[in-house]
Amino acid sequence: MLFFSYFKDLVGKEVTVELKNDLAIRGTLHSVDQYLNIKLENTRVVDQDKYPHMLSVRNCFIRGSVVRYVQLPTEGVDIDLLHDATRREARGG
Protein backbone atom coordinates (compact mmCIF):
# COMPACT_ATOMS: atom_id res chain seq x y z
CA MET A 1 0.00 0.00 0.00
CA LEU A 2 2.89 2.35 0.68
CA PHE A 3 4.07 2.53 -2.91
CA PHE A 4 0.52 2.77 -4.19
CA SER A 5 0.03 5.91 -2.06
CA TYR A 6 3.43 7.13 -3.08
CA PHE A 7 2.65 6.82 -6.80
CA LYS A 8 -0.71 8.50 -6.29
CA ASP A 9 1.16 11.56 -5.02
CA LEU A 10 3.21 11.57 -8.23
CA VAL A 11 0.15 11.92 -10.48
CA GLY A 12 0.66 14.79 -12.93
CA LYS A 13 4.45 14.49 -12.86
CA GLU A 14 6.64 13.45 -15.78
CA VAL A 15 8.09 9.93 -15.39
CA THR A 16 9.94 7.38 -17.48
CA VAL A 17 8.76 3.78 -17.19
CA GLU A 18 11.19 1.09 -18.27
CA LEU A 19 9.56 -2.24 -19.09
CA LYS A 20 10.91 -5.76 -18.77
CA ASN A 21 11.23 -5.92 -22.56
CA ASP A 22 13.72 -2.97 -22.43
CA LEU A 23 11.18 -0.53 -23.91
CA ALA A 24 11.26 2.81 -22.07
CA ILE A 25 8.24 5.12 -22.24
CA ARG A 26 8.19 8.70 -20.99
CA GLY A 27 4.99 10.56 -20.21
CA THR A 28 2.85 12.35 -17.66
CA LEU A 29 1.57 10.06 -14.90
CA HIS A 30 -2.23 10.02 -15.23
CA SER A 31 -3.19 7.35 -12.70
CA VAL A 32 -2.11 4.25 -10.77
CA ASP A 33 -4.04 1.38 -9.16
CA GLN A 34 -3.45 -1.28 -6.49
CA TYR A 35 -1.53 -3.51 -8.94
CA LEU A 36 0.69 -0.53 -9.81
CA ASN A 37 -0.75 -0.56 -13.31
CA ILE A 38 0.13 2.84 -14.73
CA LYS A 39 -1.58 5.13 -17.20
CA LEU A 40 0.60 7.69 -18.99
CA GLU A 41 -0.41 10.66 -21.14
CA ASN A 42 1.53 12.46 -23.88
CA THR A 43 3.78 9.45 -24.16
CA ARG A 44 6.86 9.04 -26.28
CA VAL A 45 9.16 6.08 -26.50
CA VAL A 46 12.66 7.05 -25.34
CA ASP A 47 14.47 5.45 -28.29
CA GLN A 48 11.96 5.95 -31.12
CA ASP A 49 14.37 4.98 -33.89
CA LYS A 50 14.98 1.59 -32.34
CA TYR A 51 11.36 1.13 -31.19
CA PRO A 52 8.91 2.65 -33.71
CA HIS A 53 6.20 0.26 -32.48
CA MET A 54 4.23 2.93 -30.61
CA LEU A 55 4.56 5.91 -32.97
CA SER A 56 0.81 6.48 -33.17
CA VAL A 57 0.18 6.07 -29.43
CA ARG A 58 -0.08 9.20 -27.23
CA ASN A 59 -1.81 7.70 -24.17
CA CYS A 60 -1.19 4.26 -22.79
CA PHE A 61 -1.93 1.78 -20.05
CA ILE A 62 1.06 -0.20 -18.74
CA ARG A 63 0.47 -3.42 -16.84
CA GLY A 64 2.17 -3.28 -13.44
CA SER A 65 3.60 -6.77 -13.86
CA VAL A 66 5.88 -5.73 -16.75
CA VAL A 67 7.38 -2.62 -15.14
CA ARG A 68 11.10 -2.89 -14.35
CA TYR A 69 11.83 0.69 -13.24
CA VAL A 70 10.04 3.98 -12.86
CA GLN A 71 12.38 6.97 -13.16
CA LEU A 72 11.05 9.78 -11.02
CA PRO A 73 11.54 13.53 -11.07
CA THR A 74 13.98 14.57 -8.32
CA GLU A 75 11.48 17.01 -6.82
CA GLY A 76 8.93 14.18 -6.56
CA VAL A 77 10.96 12.33 -3.92
CA ASP A 78 11.23 13.31 -0.27
CA ILE A 79 13.92 10.80 0.65
CA ASP A 80 13.69 11.30 4.43
CA LEU A 81 9.92 10.89 4.39
CA LEU A 82 10.17 7.75 2.23
CA HIS A 83 12.87 6.31 4.53
CA ASP A 84 10.67 6.79 7.57
CA ALA A 85 7.59 5.39 5.85
CA THR A 86 9.37 2.25 4.59
CA ARG A 87 10.90 1.60 8.03
CA ARG A 88 7.51 2.02 9.66
CA GLU A 89 5.96 -0.43 7.17
CA ALA A 90 8.81 -2.94 7.68
CA ARG A 91 8.14 -2.85 11.43
CA GLY A 92 4.57 -3.75 10.64
CA GLY A 93 2.60 -0.58 10.98
Binding site: N21, T43, H53, M54, S56, C60, V66
Partner: protein, 99 residues
Protein backbone atom coordinates in the same frame (compact mmCIF):
# COMPACT_ATOMS: atom_id res chain seq x y z
CA UNK B 1 -10.12 6.21 -5.28
CA UNK B 2 -9.30 9.81 -5.97
CA UNK B 3 -8.26 9.45 -9.60
CA UNK B 4 -10.47 6.48 -10.47
CA UNK B 5 -7.43 4.38 -11.32
CA UNK B 6 -5.97 3.55 -14.71
CA UNK B 7 -8.92 1.59 -16.06
CA UNK B 8 -9.57 0.79 -19.69
CA UNK B 9 -13.18 2.13 -19.65
CA UNK B 10 -12.23 5.21 -21.63
CA UNK B 11 -10.81 3.05 -24.44
CA UNK B 12 -13.87 0.88 -25.08
CA UNK B 13 -14.98 0.96 -28.75
CA UNK B 14 -11.73 2.69 -29.67
CA UNK B 15 -8.79 1.45 -31.72
CA UNK B 16 -6.06 0.24 -29.41
CA UNK B 17 -2.58 -1.15 -29.91
CA UNK B 18 -1.64 -3.99 -27.57
CA UNK B 19 1.94 -5.09 -26.95
CA UNK B 20 2.06 -8.64 -25.64
CA UNK B 21 4.69 -10.22 -23.41
CA UNK B 22 6.07 -12.20 -26.35
CA UNK B 23 6.67 -8.94 -28.23
CA UNK B 24 3.74 -9.01 -30.63
CA UNK B 25 1.81 -5.90 -31.57
CA UNK B 26 -1.93 -6.39 -32.07
CA UNK B 27 -4.24 -3.58 -33.19
CA UNK B 28 -8.02 -3.74 -32.89
CA UNK B 29 -11.17 -2.27 -31.37
CA UNK B 30 -11.49 -2.78 -27.60
CA UNK B 31 -14.81 -4.48 -26.87
CA UNK B 32 -14.31 -5.59 -23.29
CA UNK B 33 -11.88 -6.12 -20.42
CA UNK B 34 -11.83 -7.19 -16.78
CA UNK B 35 -9.87 -6.78 -13.54
CA UNK B 36 -7.10 -9.08 -14.73
CA UNK B 37 -6.63 -7.01 -17.92
CA UNK B 38 -8.07 -9.82 -20.06
CA UNK B 39 -9.10 -8.07 -23.26
CA UNK B 40 -11.59 -8.65 -26.08
CA UNK B 41 -10.46 -7.16 -29.39
CA UNK B 42 -12.64 -6.94 -32.48
CA UNK B 43 -11.48 -6.57 -36.10
CA UNK B 44 -7.95 -7.15 -34.89
CA UNK B 45 -4.77 -7.55 -36.87
CA UNK B 46 -1.17 -8.16 -35.95
CA UNK B 47 1.54 -5.77 -37.12
CA UNK B 48 4.69 -7.72 -37.76
CA UNK B 49 7.89 -5.64 -37.62
CA UNK B 50 11.02 -6.78 -39.39
CA UNK B 51 14.29 -5.28 -40.60
CA UNK B 52 14.05 -6.88 -44.05
CA UNK B 53 10.74 -5.38 -45.20
CA UNK B 54 8.04 -2.95 -44.10
CA UNK B 55 5.43 -3.81 -41.48
CA UNK B 56 3.22 -6.76 -42.50
CA UNK B 57 -0.38 -6.86 -41.31
CA UNK B 58 -1.97 -10.21 -40.49
CA UNK B 59 -5.74 -10.34 -40.10
CA UNK B 60 -6.78 -12.03 -36.83
CA UNK B 61 -10.46 -11.06 -36.39
CA UNK B 62 -12.11 -11.36 -32.97
CA UNK B 63 -9.52 -12.09 -30.29
CA UNK B 64 -9.35 -12.55 -26.55
CA UNK B 65 -5.95 -11.84 -25.01
CA UNK B 66 -5.25 -13.12 -21.53
CA UNK B 67 -4.18 -10.37 -19.14
CA UNK B 68 -1.07 -12.27 -18.00
CA UNK B 69 0.26 -11.92 -21.52
CA UNK B 70 -0.30 -8.15 -21.91
CA UNK B 71 2.43 -5.52 -21.49
CA UNK B 72 1.01 -2.28 -22.85
CA UNK B 73 -2.38 -1.11 -24.08
CA UNK B 74 -2.04 2.07 -26.13
CA UNK B 75 -4.78 4.34 -27.42
CA UNK B 76 -4.24 4.53 -31.19
CA UNK B 77 -4.40 8.13 -32.41
CA UNK B 78 -6.16 7.66 -35.78
CA UNK B 79 -4.68 10.82 -37.30
CA UNK B 80 -1.12 9.91 -36.33
CA UNK B 81 -1.72 6.35 -37.48
CA UNK B 82 -3.06 7.33 -40.90
CA UNK B 83 0.01 9.54 -41.45
CA UNK B 84 2.26 6.58 -40.70
CA UNK B 85 3.70 4.78 -43.72
CA UNK B 86 3.91 1.23 -42.40
CA UNK B 87 5.50 -0.05 -45.61
CA UNK B 88 8.57 2.10 -44.85
CA UNK B 89 8.87 1.25 -41.13
CA UNK B 90 11.64 -1.15 -40.36
CA UNK B 91 12.59 -2.38 -36.92
CA UNK B 92 13.51 -5.47 -34.97
CA UNK B 93 10.48 -7.12 -33.38
CA UNK B 94 10.14 -6.17 -29.69
CA UNK B 95 11.92 -8.44 -27.26
CA UNK B 96 9.84 -10.73 -25.09
CA UNK B 97 9.30 -9.73 -21.46
CA UNK B 98 11.66 -11.48 -19.06
CA UNK B 99 10.25 -11.56 -15.55
Amino acid sequence: MATGGPGLESLVDQQISVITNDGRNIVGVLKGFDQATNIILDESHERVFSTKEGVQQLVLGLYIIRGDNISVVGELDEELDSNLDLSKLRAHPLKPVIH
